[in-house]
Symmetry: C2
Subunit: 192 residues, 2 copies
DNA sequence: CACTAGTGGAGCACGAGTGTTCCACTAAGG
DNA sequence: CCTTAGTGGAACACTCGTGCTCCACTAGTG
């Protein structure tokens, strides 16, 4: 959306936001539910997104953009690899409902979807291999496993934040600590 | 199912297995798809499970039983806590499609579902706290975070196994290694 | 052969959700 | 005031999946 001002822009925004929220919980919810959540009539929703697929596509486009922006915010090329991974996790956690939708619903975030984030994925893998080359990260793991661990910790943290058993800040710290040392006791002083 | 013999038992089994497989991929698939997969007519499916809810309930009952059995197989009380966690991960990975369904579809594995596995959950938490008390596991983490990490690594490994990028054995080893040391490089020799 | 058990397919009614059309309403601007 | 922009609700047709009924078929047994 080049120009975000005006009634139409606000309405479209409201629909998209409501869609992400509702779809994160209930991927096959009715369009009327999304319309209700957005505070618009179903007719209006259809005016902006004539078919369900149009709405889903728009959510996809927005998802790609937001994930790209979140990755950029993490500045993976700066500082140590572990720090970069932590910044990335923190950046992604900020995406909240959107990330929930991506993680919890493989039908939406299918292969074609993740292919659009190939550049971001490569940047992450580059960061990981940089960390392995520098001796910071365990070189016996394939980079994609490390990437998967990061995402799985994000998944875990996100679930707990959604349940209210972790705060956003705790989640961030726990991911970092777990990346650094797994769950085994440290040979040295506690990191927390 | 007290008696697993006979045509009816085999048909019921076929339907349940097909349901788990298909539902893992497509939780809102049509009953006719499950019937096709099972190699039975839809009428037959309805004879065994008159309504969709009946089939879902049966899958739930089976899930609980299988998760209980898998937990029991892991013998969490034996050996070191880390070894116990690894055995549990391995045991759960053996459940394949069922575990996929549980992890990927929160609508099915809801709170009520997990409550039925409360005893198993407690056993796991007991094992974790045992490991923390003995100095094996990091005592600065809450036990439920450690439990969540285990499940999220399982989730990640399961995805990779399903995609064919990891073998079942590799998945098991990677989970173990990651639990022990996260993704940071070891101060000592590589564990692999 | 007749009977029983188990099954499959066809067809129907129903409900929920989707896409579409139409009309009425409100607010803002000239 | 009139016009335009934006919107909501009602109603309808359609599709898909579900639950249900009925009938026919096959296989096995006595």
């Amino acid at each position: 959306m080049a120009d975000e001002r005006g009634a139409r822009a606000r309405t479209r925004r409201a629909i998209l936001d409501a869609a992400i929220r509702r779809l994160a919980d209930t991927p096959n919810c009715a369009l009327s539910e999304i319309a209700d959540d957005a505070g618009v009539g179903r007719t209006t929703l259809h005016r902006y997104f004539p078919e369900r697929a149009d709405l889903i596509d728009a959510v996809r486009v927005e998802s790609v953009e937001r994930m790209r922006a979140a990755t950029a915010r993490a500045r993976l090329g700066e500082g140590s690899a572990l720090e970069a991974l932590e910044r990335l996790a923190s950046s992604y956690l900020d995406e909240g409902d959107l990330l929930t939708y991506l993680f919890f619903h493989a039908e939406f975030a299918d292969e074609a979807f993740w292919e659009q984030l190939e550049h971001e994925d490569e940047t992450l893998i580059t960061t990981i291999t940089r960390g392995q080359a520098s001796g910071e990260l365990d070189a016996s793991f394939r980079p994609d496993w490390i990437s998967n661990v990061l995402f799985s910790l994000l998944y875990s943290a996100l679930s707990s934040v959604r349940e209210g058993t972790l705060t956003r800040g705790e989640a961030s710290r726990l991911i970092g600590a777990t990346l650094r040392g797994g769950v085994a006791a440290r040979p040295t002083a506690s990191p927390r």
